[in-house]
Amino acid sequence: MLVMQSVTKTYAHRDKTIKALDNVSLEIDRGDFVSIVGPSGSGKSTFLLMFGGMLSPASGTVLIDGQSLYDLSPERRAAVRREKIGFVFQTFNLVPYLTALENVQIPLFLAHLSDAEQKQRATALLERIGLADRLDHKPSELSVGQQQRVALARMLANDPPIILADEPTGNLDPETSQAILDFLQEVNKEGRTIVMVTHDMRAAGTAQRTLRLVDGAIVNGHKATSQETDFPKGDAV
């Protein structure tokens, strides 16, 4: 279970204090699929970074499975990310000089698995997402959609129970976007918790629940409806 208790995060910017998160409290149950929507600068990225153990709050507590994340040492937080969290990024963040197979091997290498085991598991994941014939291709040799699929395979490499997705369909065409969302729903059905930041209301609609962030505060939390897919102009990034 992911929990935020009265979390506040502020940034100093040119003598001004900006509240990225303002006294946020919420719970995300195991197996939940939550999308976070909101205009640019509303605190979406801060929200995701905090659950990822990469940005400490000014006040409040962030819990993963009952464990206060920021009471742990940085090394232990890295271990939590390694063992429990799978990340997927808007720009994929693949390592450009590694092949697709090696990119998927990264979390397995960080978990100290043997070379043979790394290759076996990474190959199986790439086969699952339909890239069995692209194992030795570098990111620059793959299409945008294929790159995101490699990123999804990497996300699942360590079989994480929690997935934090940052605009996973942001750079994709509608057809590929739908395939990615279908895949996220598929892994959600496997029992994984998914927290997805997006400004695409169609993407948000695939989640079980949508949280809307405005000026660092959650203004509602409910199941997205088709009406909400028409995001007001100016709110989108």
Binding site: K44, S45, L48, L49, G52, M54, L55, P74, E75, A78, A79, R81, R82, E83, I85, F87, F89, Q90, T91, N93, V95, P96, Y97, L98, E102, Q105, I106, P107, L108, F109, L110, A111, D115, Q118, R154, N158, D166, E167, V197
Partner: protein, 406 residues
């Protein structure tokens, strides 16, 4: 996949950026290797020439007046042979060859000549105490005759002229200087009557242009006995190691033998010392340059590399990489850079030394494998030290930078 996979792939991905640092360290190491290599053989060549000149330290009776280095042992005064024992059993370094001498004037077949008693090397070696003192062990970096690549050219019978010692000499054997042999009409195998004792001429020495040409050399103890002088000497000639002379060998002998006078060919020794010091300073100067330029170049490259890869580092951290993994990633890269630069620098420096050494220093230069370790040590040391702070910065990078584009 292993850590080195990351490092190798990244190096080859951005090899052009790395090239400048690699070339900087390669050039620096190669220049120092070349200087050290040429200097080593140059020093050996100079020392070899010094060796060919003969003894460079002379021990005389305290009151002796030194007028000519090569005739100074024709003194009326003497000192005990026990001085040799004192020198041999001391812990002084740099005494390459000891040659105790007793010279007496003799006349044979109407010709006047000097009979010089010398002690053959095998008699030194027979004395365990002296062996332990390592009199005949050539200290490292000293000595000259056996320098690698510089084979002795003098035949065995010239050993006395060059080294001031001879390996064996029987009690009834005599060695004749070139002039003496010519004036007496004597050749090897002839018999010569000296101080009433018949001696077999075992060798005629080649001309040296010194007073040695007009001398006959016999066993020291035979000469002492025939001259009825007892265990005394006129002089002890020493081939001293120049490096040790520069470190105060003469003063140490003076302390050991306060009753004797110790003189040296200071001019020759000083020249050698100055040459050695100049090359050492030059080498140090280049070392300082490579540490500064090479180190700055590597540090600059590494900082730029960390900055360029901050998104990648952030991603790795988001995927669970610890700070130590990131630190090790950059330090391994620095290690590979240092090893590559060191090996390539050694290879290029050796080629430069072997190719240009004979033209620059006028001596044959051969590769020195011992410089490989030196080159690797310096190159990796500089690379690791210069890369440590950039690597630490990478390890301390805020992983949230990976998601800054949201």
């Amino acid at each position: 996949m292993k850590l080195r996979t990351f490092v190798w792939r990244e190096i080859f991905e951005r090899k052009n950026q790395l090239a400048t640092s690699f070339v900087a360290i390669l050039l620096g190491i190669s220049v120092i290797v070349a200087i050290k290599n040429i200097t080593f053989y140059s020093e050996k060549a100079v020392a070899r020439e010094l060796d060919a000149l003969g003894a460079n330290i002379l021990i005389l009776p305290k009151s002796a007046s030194l007028q000519d280095y090569y005739t100074a042992d024709m003194q009326s005064e003497e000192f005990p042979e026990e001085y040799v024992t004192r020198l041999a059993s001391s812990d002084l370094q740099g005494l390459d060859n000891l040659s105790p001498k007793l010279s007496v004037p003799v006349e044979t077949n109407g010709k006047k000549l000097t009979l010089t008693g010398i002690l053959p090397k095998n008699e030194f070696q027979a004395k365990a105490a002296w062996q332990g003192a390592g009199v005949f062990a050539r200290p490292q970096g000293c000595g000259t005759v056996d320098a690698p690549g510089l084979a002795p050219t003098a035949p065995t019978k010239e050993t006395l002229v060059r080294k001031r010692v001879i390996d064996t000499l029987a009690g009834d054997e005599v060695l004749l200087g070139a002039d003496v042999a010519a004036s007496l009409g004597t050749k090897e195998g002839d018999t010569l009557q000296l101080l009433g004792k018949p001696f077999k001429v075992s060798a005629v020495l080649p001309p040296t242009g010194t007073v040695d040409d007009s001398r006959a050399f016999a066993h020291l103890h035979t000469v002492q006995e025939l001259a009825k002088k007892g265990p005394v000497l006129n002089a002890i000639e020493i081939v001293g190691c120049c490096n040790q002379i520069s470190k105060g060998l003469v003063q140490k002998i003076n302390t050991l033998l306060p009753e004797a006078k110790v003189v040296t060919i200071t001019q020759i020794v000083d020249t050698q010392i100055r040459t050695n010091q100049m090359m050492a300073r030059l080498s140090s100067l280049f070392l300082a340059i490579i540490v500064l330029v090479g180190g700055a170049s590597i540090a600059n490259y590494m900082y730029a590399n960390v900055f360029e890869r901050r998104k990648e580092i952030g991603t790795l951290m988001a995927l669970g990489a610890s700070s130590s993994i990131v630190l090790r990633m950059f330090m391994l890269k620095a290690l590979l850079l240092g090893l590559g630069g060191g090996i390539a620098g050694y290879a290029v420096g050796t080629v430069i030394a072997v190719t240009l050494g004979p033209r620059i220093a006028g001596v044959p230069v051969l590769p020195m494998s011992s410089l490989v370790l030196w080159a690797l040590g310096v190159a990796t040391g500089i690379s690791l030290v210069a890369s440590y702070f950039p690597a630490r910065r990478a390890a301390r990078l805020d992983p949230s930078t990976a998601l800054q584009e949201i």
